[in-house]
Point group: C2
Chain length 392, copies 2
């Protein structure tokens, strides 16, 4: 097996750190960020990492000099503050009044509001404050575009996020009323988008929204697809389409808002590898099974949404099962060599969605950078798991 993660073989990492193990090649993450910036260089832009894709503090610290951080919950705001500065944080998602107050006190860079109701709450709160708020405000708008998976489609007129285009006028009215500078329109069309043309349409619709010329910032969210089971277009294709559409339309309409992107999956997904060890090889009738020490409760999207993560090893194909007492805990057909199964493209939405089902511990996470490797999240002991469920 001539496969390498940085300068390490999977065998070396498995021996050094144990399994199951999530490895993130941080130099690949940084390269990916540079690739984003390269392909966006023709247009005014800000690049923001969506923390929810992989919120491990040790990873955020490595990249927070090069990207803003997008938080979408109180916990994500806290973890972003550990790794970055308030004026490099964008806050999205639902917010209670404590979170809104905290964001304004901290003067986060941008706060995207989700609804007219929230905006008016923000306005009232801001009027009561006795300090200067530097935060820029935005409003999330549904473009009426369907994402490419039902379950991760976030810009339809029916889903729970944002306002419909007709409500932008209300948003501006309320902002004026409370002296709130509403400078950003925000959207996000879903996850694992696989057609670059979708981003052309996003840009077109943003420029066509009511009052779009009153906004300095167009925040287009994320959603750029990565390679799980099938080939998807390159980042260059997605960003080329986006940039071209921007240049054409802004030239035509005569204004040049700054574009914000908030990718998560496409920044960290392809840099992450799950390494697991075969625990049992069994024959059931004529079928050969390899039962490994990695389970679908760390790969929930694998189980329910995208189905397959490519495996990396050589050897004969066998059916791969995890240890859970759950028939859906199948990792698919894969190759085990030297007793290891390595899954690629596991950097995003694995550890952040993982559970302790069957009272199994969540895995250790390490970073690799060339010849260096270090632990950024320890593995859990059984005792810790039991305590999490209330054992004394």
């Amino acid at each position: 097996m001539n496969l390498q993660i940085g300068e390490f073989s999977p065998e070396e990492l498995a021996d050094m750190y144990g399994t199951p193990l999530l490895v993130v090649d941080v130099s690949k993450v940084k390269e990916r960020i540079e690739e984003f910036k390269l392909h966006l260089k023709e247009i005014p832009h800000l690049l923001c990492y969506s923390v929810k894709a992989n919120p491990i503090p040790g990873l955020l610290k490595e990249i927070s000099d090069t990207v803003l951080l997008e938080a979408s919950s109180p916990g994500e705001l806290l973890v972003s503050l550990k790794a970055s500065k308030p004026d490099r944080i964008v806050l999205d998602g639902f917010k209670d009044s404590d979170l809104i107050t905290a964001a304004m006190k901290l003067n986060v860079f941008l706060l995207n509001s989700d609804s007219i109701q929230e905006l008016s709450e923000i306005g009232k709160m801001k009027m009561d404050l006795d300090f200067q708020v530097e935060t820029i405000f935005g409003i999330r708008v549904s473009l009426g575009l369907k994402g490419e998976s039902d379950i991760v489609s976030t810009s339809t007129l029916e889903d729970k996020f944002g306002v419909v285009p007709e409500q932008i006028r209300d948003a501006l009215r309320i902002s004026n009323e409370f002296g709130l500078e509403l400078k950003c329109i925000h959207t996000h069309i879903g996850s694992q988008i696989e057609r670059p043309g979708t981003y052309r349409e996003v840009v077109e619709r943003m420029f066509s929204l009511p009052h779009s010329e009153e906004f300095d910032l167009f925040d287009l969210g994320g959603g750029f697809g990565i390679r799980y089971s099938k080939t998807v277009p390159s980042l260059e294709a997605f960003l080329g389409e986006l940039s071209d559409a921007y240049l054409e339309i802004s030239d035509r309409v005569g204004f040049c808002p700054k574009i914000i992107l908030e990718p998560g999956r496409s920044i960290v997904g392809e840099s992450g590898y799950f390494i697991s060890r075969e625990k049992t090889r069994k024959k059931k009738g004529r079928v050969e099974w390899s039962i490994v020490d990695l389970s679908t409760n760390h790969l929930l999207e694998r189980l329910y949404l995208f189905r397959t993560y490519p495996s990396w090893n050589e050897g004969n194909e066998v059916k791969i099962g995890g240890p859970l007492c759950f028939s859906g805990d199948e990792l698919g057909v894969g190759r085990v060599s030297n007793g290891l199964l390595v899954l690629k493209n596991c950097g995003a939405y694995t550890i952040s969605k993982s559970s302790q089902y069957n009272l199994y511990p969540r895995p250790k996470v390490i970073l690799v950078d060339g010849y260096k490797s270090w632990e950024i999240k320890e593995g859990e002991s059984y005792l810790k798991v039991l305590n999490d469920f209330g054992a004394d």
Copy 2:
């Protein structure tokens, strides 16, 4: 709202403990256990609670006098030992050699092996031991029956569990070779079975397995459906069908194995209630949304498998969303009254599968018994969640 959990209203519990809150009415759990025993009284049987459905130690302690505990992982064996005694524990699932040794040293009541390979490993290990092992051994067999949901179907000839019927002869041969008393055949056909007739078929197939007369115990697993979205038959209907089939066939074939059942969902599911509080009410176009503080990462089966948990409250129907930055985080159409949404039938596979996605804490769990209520799992702080992901 005249709804009660024990002697409490949801409002009282929400005020006392905060939200989101999982409440388990332990007197209902105990009644359910008695109902199982009542409807099984015609046949020799043992009742076992499947820990994975809800593994909170404080709940296990309440019921471990009346049922055996079924563990299917190292963590579940540990938590079972905290609540019960080794001779009242059944061990299923995949096992590494440490877990097998531990189970034999402890003399757990029954160890159901999953494969020929595992059985032969157990045999070798037992021969090397210098103490008496009282544990009974079993072998899990797939009956070739499909469950009623693709994803929770665990007795087909293709899934990862157990052996095919033709391998029972091998299992007996290997057990003889190593002096291992193989006394149990074990099966489990899946989850949320909704046709009582399925259990008649399970009993028929168990009696028809090769060498079935050599086994003293038939462990039939669990899977009895409960009422999520639609009406399912009563427990009496399921167990009546099972008992009748057993009595007819055992009379005909002339042997009377003891039946073991391992329900989880049907013991705790209907006794659990999630109480959540509305955080925001928003209008998006003409649709009204209530955003509550409970999210689908605590209701994963709701999201992907069974779709709906009935809500309990009065009031107008609105669309209910959780706070997650994920469009799939919809709790359906429900009723919010006095600012609360109460979901019924949440006792099983909610807290055991819950995650901290978006860095949201997992909820507190309390037990209610008539006029008494007490906390058995504390709610998590944001700081705890951050630490879980590796913050220092």
